[in-house]
């Protein structure tokens, strides 16, 4: 009795993970937009605002973060499901 029971729970859990992965996949661009909107809050005068290199590092850092997150999601996400 316990065998199939466990199986069912396992499958359920896997499906649940897939759903959340899809959610994550959907949320990622929104996270990207938010993170890339933050520069609009930067002070523009050189004296108090972030330095040039830190601006560059921030923009590209967010970029790398998104790529890594997207890689991880794509690694586990099954895209062959017909419905979303």
């Amino acid at each position: 009795m316990s065998g199939p029971q466990k199986n069912a729970v396992f499958l359920e859990r896997a499906n649940y993970r897939q759903r959340r992965l899809r959610d994550a996949s959907r949320l990622l661009p929104i996270l990207g937009i938010v993170l890339w909107t933050i520069p609009l809050l930067w002070r523009t005068d050189q004296a108090v605002g972030p330095s040039n290199s830190r601006m560059v590092i921030y923009i590209f850092g967010v970029w790398v973060t998104l790529i890594v997150a997207s890689t991880l999601i794509a690694r586990f996400l099954r895209s062959d499901e017909t419905r979303d």
Partner: protein, 899 residues
């Protein structure tokens, strides 16, 4: 120093290599050995045509002018790619199920395979892309001129123009060779995709090589370069009134809507799962392409002499340091960027122009003969494509010449983007909103396109070039609300932001309003449902009725479009599937649909639809088809229809059941009433029998009483017996089990017997008879008839309440038989009871007087019916009267016998 000639040699070698790669890829694909050609990696690399020469050279120039803003062009596509689950997956699935051949085809297909929308989108795409192609020609010529200058030659306009012309011709040849070799059902070009993938690697490596050289060769390492960036006066961050977000949106939209991007993203996509890898690999590609842009810009500004063109730093920095090989590599990178963009753009546009403009026009010119014209349509389509390719490149070249190859071209990338995203609302609306209609899409497209032309495209030629200075300042005809760069009086916006804002707002407004107020035709609604619910049912498209298309006609037409072998294969396969021998299958709606999809790949949805439409006749979509194939609404409708049918059936059953139940209930009530009557009737005599027998048992009484009580018991027992006899009699009569014994005898004798049996002789009842009229014989069951007569006489005896009771028995003969009336001088029976007296156990009036159980008249009626006659109450007489009717046979036979 690299010589100009060696540069040309390298470039030509490179081009030859691309030809070989493309040729080899086509050969492998044709041989079916090219599984890896359709790998996600190749798909990702083919997306890199987003990075054109504008990226390769222009990004650095852009960065020197606006700092980090250059990155917006790559952030938008990054967001679209990592958010592929929202949009791209849907687009790709739609593209595959509907065999979409271009973005114009997508819009046309979505909105009921509308030919007009196809034309509108094609026109927008051509106008928006031509300057972009010119920009590529310019960048190639500029880069060549850099080498020429370095080689000591001073180039004038003539040499530049000649270079541009040769590049354009070379690209046209390459594109015609590999882009229109065949009309593929899937519109995929393995050769070109392979060549583009190679070019993608070349341009990425070239840019990375220059970047590495700049950072570690010139800048002194990563840390030093960062310090240089900090120290640079380059404006790194210019949060200029919304440009940052507007440009991210713009690039994201353009990434989807540019014809060449749609071509590689959707049309050339061989497998939906490739998106999974591309979702991170392409952002990575963009990231790597952008990575060294800022360092190259900063170092270039530091090291290059004042006044040198920052757009060419990628080339001039290595050259100035005498790194000829690197410079050459860099040149190839730029060359790759430009050529791959031009090739794919041209193919995409040529497909659109030929499918949506040339072929429909040609078909219309041939309208007399319809799709039955002789000759091979394939030749026409391929020729149309080749001419379109040449025309588009010629257009690009003309634009390049007209704009003078000046700096005006630098801004054209963004201008082109704004033009392309005018398709975005119709596209997004079309695939997510079923309410989007053709009218709305057309209005939105035209509105957005007009705003773009007026507020951005025409002004981009420079002040006074197309739109005069006065109009720019004061608006057309002095209408200041329509000033191109300050629409509706809103001034001070950046021109790009201004154009994006107004074109998108008005475009979307017109699209939404138009969709809300118009009504889609059936095909539109069907396509809308299929696009929006593409994941629910990834099969089927508009269904054709099989009206008039003969399999042979269809085969002839298909052969002309997709070639004899393939068409015959398709038909043979279908015939085999239907279990038939030979080439000609039955023309089912399903077959027509799949055939149409195959043709769509070659000539586009609208044209394929029109061509099949000419054969099949009519628009082809019937209400039934709509319901059968279409959307979930139809499915629900179908389901509910079924339910309705079922429930109607159930209702009928329920009604039958109700009727049966009512009958049963009535029967049961009758049975209950009958039983209670029976028990009541049995009880009364039983009660007296029991009580008198108890008294007798107790004994001790005078013999006279004893005899009286015994007499009562005896009477009651007789009554019980009679009742049971009656019941048995009735039951036998009702069940039709009675056996009649026919006898012949005179009516007089019968009546005498009845009067005697009824016990009249001892009573006060006076019987009045006319003996004369009774003198004839009857042939029937005389015993049963006597039973009826006895009953009627006994009733008169029992119930007649007159002071001197009299019963008149009169007999009359007629054609319909013989009537015997029994009429007394009593009070008669009330009208309401006249119907009841023939019912079982019915007794009218005083119950105590009744000796019987109320079965008498019921038995009489049954008997008379058995005998073929009747007994009924005579309401029209004074007193109680019954008429017994005997059938003519009972009398007539006797009459004959008498003769």
């Amino acid at each position: 120093m690299v010589s100009f000639n060696s540069l040309i040699a390298v470039a030509l070698t490179y081009v030859a290599m691309l030809f070989l790669v493309a040729f080899w890829a086509e050969r492998s694909a044709a041989a079916g050995r090219a599984r890896w050609l359709q790998s996600p990696l190749i798909y990702t690399l083919s997306l890199s045509i987003y990075c054109t020469a504008w990226t390769f050279y222009g990004a650095v120039g852009y960065a020197t002018r606006s700092g980090l803003e250059f990155a917006t062009i790559y952030l938008g596509p990054t967001l679209v790619m990592i958010g592929w689950w929202w949009l791209l997956r849907r687009l790709v699935r739609i593209g595959r199920t509907q065999r979409i051949t271009s973005i114009a085809d997508l819009i046309s297909s979505r909105f009921g395979k509308s030919a007009q929308l196809g034309v509108i989108v094609t026109v927008i795409a051509v106008i928006a892309t031509t300057p972009y192609i010119a920009l590529q020609l310019q960048s190639v010529t500029l880069s060549v001129s850099v080498f020429a200058r370095a080689g000591g030659e001073q180039w004038g306009n003539d040499e530049l123009n000649a270079t541009a012309l040769w590049v354009a011709i070379g690209l046209a040849i390459f594109t015609v060779l590999f882009g229109t070799r065949k009309l593929d059902a899937n519109e995929r070009h393995s050769g070109i995709v392979m060549a583009i993938a190679v070019e993608a690697i070349v341009k990425l490596c070239a840019l990375l090589a220059v970047g590495v050289f700049v950072v570690w060769g010139l800048g002194g390492g990563a840390a030093d370069t960062l310090a240089r960036i900090d120290a640079s006066d380059m404006p790194m961050w210019t949060p200029d009134n919304g440009r940052w977000l507007a440009l991210i949106f713009l690039s994201a939209g353009a990434f989807l809507c540019l014809p060449r991007m749609f071509q590689v993203l959707v049309v050339e996509n061989a497998d939906e799962r490739h998106l999974n890898m591309a979702s991170w690999a392409f952002p990575l590609y963009l990231f790597l392409i952008s990575l060294f842009v800022i360092p190259i810009a900063v170092v270039g500004l530091d090291m290059m002499p004042e006044g040198s063109n920052p757009d060419l730093f990628v080339l001039t920095l290595p050259l100035s340091q005498r790194h000829d090989t690197l410079a050459m590599f860099s040149f190839l990178g730029g060359f790759s960027s430009a050529t791959s963009m031009v090739i794919v753009s041209t193919i995409a546009l040529a497909t659109m122009v030929s499918n949506h403009i040339v072929v429909p026009l040609w078909l219309r010119l041939q309208a007399g003969e319809g799709a039955m014209i002789s000759g091979d349509v394939r030749d026409v389509i391929i020729l149309a494509r080749r001419l379109s390719i040449a025309a588009i490149l010629a257009l690009g070249y003309v634009y390049f010449r007209l704009s003078g190859g000046g700096t005006a071209l630098a801004a054209i990338g963004l201008v082109s983007f704004v033009g392309a995203i005018q398709i975005l609302p119709a596209m997004i609306g079309g695939i997510f909103w079923r309410g989007a209609t053709r009218v709305g899409a057309a209005l939105g497209l035209i509105m957005g396109f007009s705003v773009w032309i007026w507020s951005l495209f025409l002004p981009s030629f420079g002040a006074g070039a197309v739109i005069s200075e006065a109009v720019m300042q004061h608006g057309p005809f002095g209408l200041s609300l329509l000033r191109p760069q300050a629409l509706f009086g809103i001034e001070g916006l950046d021109p790009i932001v201004h154009a994006v804002l107004w074109s998108m707002l008005l475009n979307m407004g017109a699209f939404l309003a138009g969709s809300l107020v118009s009504f889609p035709n059936p095909l539109e609604r069907l396509q809308g449902a299929q696009f929006v619910n593409v994941f629910d049912h990834s099969t089927g498209s508009g269904a054709w009725t099989t009206a008039t298309a003969g399999a042979e006609d269809l085969l002839i037409m298909s052969q002309r479009i997709i070639g004899a072998t393939e068409a015959q294969a398709i038909f043979q396969r279908e015939a085999a599937r239907q279990g038939k021998v030979g080439y000609l299958p039955d023309v089912t709606p399903g077959f027509i649909n799949s055939l149409q999809r195959d043709l769509t790949g070659s000539v586009g949805a609208a044209t394929a639809h029109a061509m099949i439409g000419q054969l099949v006749g009519g628009s082809g979509v019937s209400v039934e088809d709509l319901m059968a194939v279409a959307d979930e609404a139809a499915q629900i409708l179908e389901y509910s229809n079924k339910l309705e049918a079922k429930s109607a059936e159930q209702e009928r059953t329920a009604k039958a059941l109700r009727d049966a139940n009512e009958k049963l209930t009535a029967l049961s009530i009758q049975k209950d009433a009958f039983l209670s009557q029976i028990s009541h009737e049995l009880r009364t005599p039983m009660t007296s029998i029991r009580s008198f027998s108890e008294i007798l048992r107790d004994g001790d009484m005078p013999p006279a009483d004893q005899a009286r009580y015994a007499g009562i018991i005896h009477d009651e027992a007789i009554r019980l017996t009679r009742l049971l006899d009656d019941l048995l009699d009735l039951s036998v009569l009702e069940n039709g089990q009675v056996i009649l014994h026919e006898q012949t005898g005179s009516l007089t004798g019968l009546l005498d017997r009845a009067v005697r049996a009824a016990g009249v002789t001892d009573s006060r009842l006076e019987i009045l008879r006319n003996q004369e009229s009774e003198r004839f014989d009857l042939t029937t069951d005389l015993d049963r008839l006597a039973q009826v007569f006895i009953n009627l006489i006994a009733n008169a005896l029992k119930y007649c309440d007159a002071e001197h009771p009299r019963l008149r028995i009169s007999v009359r003969q007629s054609d319909e038989g013989c009537y015997v009336d029994f009429i007394d001088n009593g009070a008669g029976i009330d009208a309401e009871n006249q119907q009841l007296i023939f019912e079982k156990f019915s007794r009218v009036g005083d119950q105590s007087k009744a000796g019987g159980a109320g079965l008498g008249l019921a038995i009489c009626l049954e008997v008379m019916r058995r005998l073929g006659g009747d007994v009924r109450y005579l309401a029209e007489h004074v007193g109680t009267g019954f008429r017994v009717t005997l059938p003519p046979e009972a009398v007539a036979e006797t009459a004959l016998a008498e003769l």
